[in-house]
Amino acid sequence: MSFLQLKNIEKFFGDHRAIKGVDLSIEKGEFIVFVGPSGCGKSTLLRLIAGLETIDGGNLLLDGKDITHAPSSKRDLAMVFQSYALYPHMTVAENMSFALKLAGEDKKVIKEKVEHAAEILNLTRYLERTPKALSGGQRQRVAIGRAIVRAPKVFLFDEPLSNLDAALRVQTRVEIAKLHRELGATTIYVTHDQVEAMTMADRVVVLRDGAIEQVGRPLELYDRPQNRFVAQFIGMPQMNMLPIGEFGSYAESLVRPLPVGGHIGVRPEHVTITNAGEGQLLATVDFVESLGAESLVYATTPHGVQVVSKQSVRSSVRAGDTVSLKFEQDWLHVFDADGQVVSNAKGVAK
């Protein structure tokens, strides 16, 4: 049996069904990332697990125990908030020891645990400071420290990096991933940033409108998206999505029978720009982004669909040029009119 189990979890805000019967099993020690666009319910789902919102339907089991209606304080979970939510009137050491103090832990043990956590997080010098006197990154580390001193059953992270600047975000991301490897603690991490999801997760849960779209290992989601939403949500720049009609008879060689009103999806790295006659589609270049290591060419087909091509060589094409787009046949995903996958790229299997 899995460590943390969500069974048909439901949440209503008034008449709005915010979480629509979510089922999910999480194994001990797993790093799970909830990802999705804003308003998809990922934070709500985390708060339901935390007990900060009441669960309106379904069951939540932790380590074999039903905690559906248990108060937060009795769930043995720790949470790191986006706003850090440190106690402003307490020092770093007091912030980190608060939970242990409430639990009536021995003073000496508390001191040891706090010092150990501070060492891991490089906070030893700041233990006597108040949060006010710390930088954003340090505050975030205190918030993480507050969670790890408790050695809870599950760590919950609610967009913990959103308030940090770009450089610090990357650094902290690496630190959190490292911390997870060292502690081996079960972790649920919410983010809207798919890079965080791809780099940190053992498994990613993609959410939309309060329901799970797909669960899988990061590359599995990248290679075998089950629907158009996941296909376009994961990957940067997003997967090109062209109506099947664009391809004319060429599409028939891909899949039979052709899904009426369906789409063909192809990632930018599998679109190359070739001389006229060699590709499948003609397009006009809108603009070119040269990022140094790679170039992104944005082009529009005669039917007005924008296609992005990612090339590792510096591109010589310029805006206004007419080019031919070549799609690598083994890397095409076919979706039906409802957006569900008909066939994923064959290239992955090879």
Binding site: L77, P88, A99
Partner: protein
Amino acid sequence: MDKTLLWVRTGAAWLVALLIFFPILWLGMTAFKTELQAISVPPKFFFTPTLENFIEVQSRSDYLLYAKNSLITSVASTLLGLLIAAPAAYSMAFFQTRRTKDLLVWMLSTKMMPAVGVLIPVYVVYQQFQLLDTRLGLTIIFTMSNLPIMVWMLYSYFKDIPREILEAARMDGATLYDEFRHVILPLGIGGLASTALLCLVLSWNESFWSLNLSSAKAGTLATLIASYSSPEGLFWAKLSAASLMAIAPIIVFGWFCQKQLVQGLTFGAVK
């Protein structure tokens, strides 16, 4: 140019301040005059001060008894008010529903009703429950008349405490009591103090209910002052002496708590 403007402004500020303060100054001066000097026209600004009014007031009525009543009723009503208002404000600030705002406005609207409008019903109730002229009775009515303001003030202070901090405490294993004791109390102590101070002052100065619901036994300093505007005629000097004795404690108290009081009175005005 700027300098002149500054002088004009400073002068104007002093003028307004003096104008507002003048009655109290006049009261203070009159308290040290004889009755004859007090009513003399034109008014005397220079005179030999006398303490006879204070001695007279103390001998005619027991100042300390009234002072004790004032102290007990205002402190008790403040504590009782905090006991009720703090949990109310807590739940309204942190567990808001769609009706919370309406509830708050409704509570405040009770302050807009003239107190005299409910004097008769309150009087009859007090009579039935034998609360007339008791300190308990005054404490209850002071508490009730201050509650809307207390709830509003505490609500606005509590609202400034980020919800996540309380949630973090809950995740850390804090019970409702722990949350209050270790998070709300230390973070909201400024607000609680300001609220308590304001209510203390309001209760101390309250006169309508104390005049109507109490007399010799539970009477507060407000009733002491009123007893000097008696049917036998006004005794300006003694009335002033009694007034000065009544307001002195609260003026001294207010002087020391100026900062908190101003903060309390402007609550919500500047965020």
